[in-house]
């Protein structure tokens, strides 16, 4: 039975939620506004939220100076490719850990998670050399593999958590009805875990899209994604915050739009199993 929530409590919790959301969103809002300011207005002291003169010149400059479509397409291929490949490996792995756990399953999960605790720079030179020797440096397939490996522990952990919420009896029933392992995973497990898989997919696309260490370290020109595009506008000497903001806005806009349209699915997936 649902508890009754008083109007005042609802008001205050709503206000708190909006306040937190605004605090989180404000830097992004500021960045978007700055991208339409002149460079002088962007660095005015005291800072001005709204400028006296608005301009599209920053976007024109950024577009003229860089091959944005190439960076964008590289980001799409790398983010989607690494996520889909990761899911293809993680779904069977998570299935086995959730439904036929062994003695060492928990240890294995912890070990996988521990690889995320290691600073990326610790393996930079070995990975750099491996990429060179295998001809994967500055290739999209190379980055797909690298980011897939980086995010695989998170994908498996998320799916494992979702799969654990699905009653094992349903899968047993499917097996008794003669379903093969493949059919069990594809036709029984996967449809039931769609919210979880969808949110895992979206979260990992976002993680891969925003990854900035490996994507900059392992590329030069051909496979460089939008993270490298943003980095190219950071200047140690000179005030180019407005152009940097324009480049950043162009880089995050696609993922923001994706997140906006898929937020229902994302929230549903992330809260899947949270309430019993």
């Amino acid at each position: 039975m649902a508890r009754a929530v008083s109007p005042s409590r609802k008001f205050w919790t709503t206000l708190a939620a909006w306040s937190v959301a605004l605090v989180i969103f404000f830097p992004v809002f500021w960045m978007v506004l700055t991208s339409f300011k002149t460079e002088a207005s962007a660095v005015a002291t005291p800072p001005q939220l709204f400028s006296a003169e608005w301009t599209l010149a920053n976007y024109q400059d950024v577009w003229a100076r860089s091959d944005y479509p190439r960076f964008f397409w590289n980001s799409v291929v790398i983010a989607l490719g690494s996520t889909l490949l990761g899911l293809a490996i993680a779904i069977p792995a998570a299935w086995s850990m959730a439904f036929v756990p062994g003695k060492r399953t928990k240890d294995l999960l912890m070990w996988m998670l521990s690889t995320k605790m290691m600073p990326a720079v610790a393996v930079m030179v070995p990975l750099y050399l491996v990429f060179q020797k295998l001809g994967l440096f500055d290739t999209r397939i190379g980055l797909v593999l690298a980011l897939m490996l980086m995010n695989l522990p998170i994908i498996i952990w998320m799916l494992y958590t979702y799969f654990r919420e699905i009653p094992g009896e349903i899968l047993e029933a499917a097996r008794m009805d003669g379903a093969s392992l493949w059919n069990e995973i594809i036709y029984v497990l996967t449809p039931m875990a769609v919210p979880g898989i969808a949110s895992t997919l979206l979260l990992n696309v976002i993680l891969a899209w925003n990854e900035a260490f490996w994507t900059i370290t392992l590329t030069t020109t051909k496979a460089a994604p939008l993270s490298a595009f943003i980095a190219s506008f950071s200047a140690p000497q000179g005030l180019f915050y407005a152009k940097l903001s324009a480049a950043s806005t162009m880089a995050i806009a696609p993922i923001l739009i994706l997140g906006w349209f898929s937020q229902k699915q994302l929230v549903r997936g992330l809260t899947f199993g949270a309430v019993k």
């Binding site: 440096f137 980095a231 140690p236």
Partner: protein
């Protein structure tokens, strides 16, 4: 007949492939994002007209990311870059390690003798020019002529630190939001340490003695840090421990600083269209303390070829185009003399048009006043004015910079910062085998 035809086809194919290779030599140039480098990318039509057989691909990165990527590539003999933008800090270190290709065989039109001696000296290793300077800079005093006039003062062309303090005190009007002096406070070997190392030289301090023993426990460093903290605490802007080049540039452009001692490259920014005080800016040499050394640094962004490059000839062709006298003339003809990369060639400063710029002479004088091989009053075992050209310096400089920044923020005293710096640097130098 068949054999003849096959031979003919084979020869034709081989010729076509050779031709394609000649026509499509692509070199990758790694560079930083600054105005001069971006301008060069916009002038590439001139290069392509002269060298249609070479295509240039650019990798533009933030300075520290570029340094990391290029270092990794060279150390692993990766060969991903054919031309790299590196600073005067890296050139002597990498040159000694054999990581760079000598540029002594650039064509006569390059005219290496025209390079400013101070800049050329810092880029030469064992008689070999290891990198070609694209632009050079020193540091100098940029000040508000109107505020000086209002205070009844005149800035000498070559001021002392005492005169700087007098001017800072006179121009400070905190109620109006004007601070007498703005200096770097942000921690980093390229931020506050660049400024403080150069300032220390003018106080007779040095990083190491001839036996590589750290010198932060000596009175010269104490005098340097005390003087810096006194200036900044009394006449500097609030929150100065977070201010680097860009933050101080913003403050100066918006009329919040009476003086700013920083890179000569800033001169074009503070007199440019974005500056609210462009018409009131004067320039002077970096201050001295009567000991014969001024507190100015020397830096150049240079183009170099890693020894791992497979396209060294094409890379040399590009470097010759980008850094010879014709390139300076090209920039002047398209963008005006104020936008020509400064600080590399004697002939530029002999040009009557360029000499008309308000900051031209002071930039040249500042560069000439710096001596990377003999930076301080006492002898040193290292090369570099605001840095020490050893591989360990980036880490050391940043760690010491954090200590000095903390002193500026008030979380440590000057004595505590110097004592910690002495201990930290001594430990590192012992661990690296410089001292026993």
């Amino acid at each position: 007949m068949k054999i003849t035809l096959r031979a003919l086809f084979g020869a034709t194919a081989a010729l076509a492939l050779t031709g394609a290779a000649m026509a499509d030599t692509t070199i990758t140039v790694a560079t930083v994002n600054n105005g001069d480098m971006i301008r060069m990318q916009g002038l590439m039509d001139d290069f392509y007209a002269k060298h249609p057989d070479i295509k240039v691909e650019w990798v533009t990165l933030e300075e520290n990311v570029l340094r990391q990527n290029v270092t990794t590539d060279i150390a692993t003999n990766g060969g991903q870059f054919d031309v790299m933008t590196i600073g005067t800090y890296e050139v002597p270190i990498w040159g000694k390690q054999g990581w760079l290709v000598s540029l002594n065989d650039l064509p006569a039109e390059y005219d290496a003798d025209d390079l400013l001696p101070a800049i050329r000296g810092g880029l030469t290793v064992d008689g070999n020019l290891m990198a070609s300077p694209f632009y050079g800079e020193s540091s100098m005093v940029m000040y508000r002529k109107d505020l000086m006039e209002k205070a009844g003062l005149t800035m000498p062309d070559a001021p002392t630190w005492a005169e700087i303090e007098t001017a800072a005190a006179a121009m400070t009007d905190k109620s109006a939001g004007i601070y007498g002096i703005c200096l770097r406070g942000k921690a980093g070997w390229g931020e506050n340490i660049a400024f403080l190392s150069a300032m220390a030289n003018s106080y007779g301090a040095r990083w190491f003695d001839e036996a590589w023993v750290p010198q932060f426990d000596q009175p010269e460093w104490k005098a340097t840090l005390d003087s810096y903290l006194h200036l900044m605490n009394n006449y500097g802007p609030p929150g100065a421990s977070n201010n680097g080049f860009n933050e101080n540039l913003t403050l100066f452009q918006q009329g919040k600083c009476g003086m700013w001692i920083d890179a000569t490259v800033a001169a074009s920014f503070v007199t440019g269209a974005d500056s609210t005080v462009a018409a009131d800016v004067g320039f002077a040499l970096a201050p001295d303390n009567g000991l014969g050394k001024r507190g100015n640094w020397l830096w150049a962004w240079t183009l170099a070829i890693p020894s791992s490059s497979q396209k060294q000839d094409a890379a040399k062709t590009f470097i010759n185009w980008a850094t010879n006298k014709d390139y300076l003339a090209l920039v002047a003809s398209r963008e005006g003399w104020a936008n020509v990369p400064p600080g590399t060639r004697t002939s530029l400063y002999e040009n009557a048009e360029y000499a008309k710029l308000p900051f031209a002479k002071m930039t040249l004088d500042s560069i000439n006043a710096a001596d990377p091989t003999n930076p301080s009053v006492k002898p040193v075992p290292y090369v570099g004015v605001q840095f020490v050209a050893i591989p360990e310096f980036q880490g050391l400089g940043t760690s010491v910079g954090e200590l000095f920044s903390a002193a500026l923020a008030g979380t440590r005293t000057a004595d505590q910062a110097l004592s910690a710096a002495q201990s930290l640097v001594t430990d590192e130098m012992e661990a690296s085998g410089y001292i026993q």
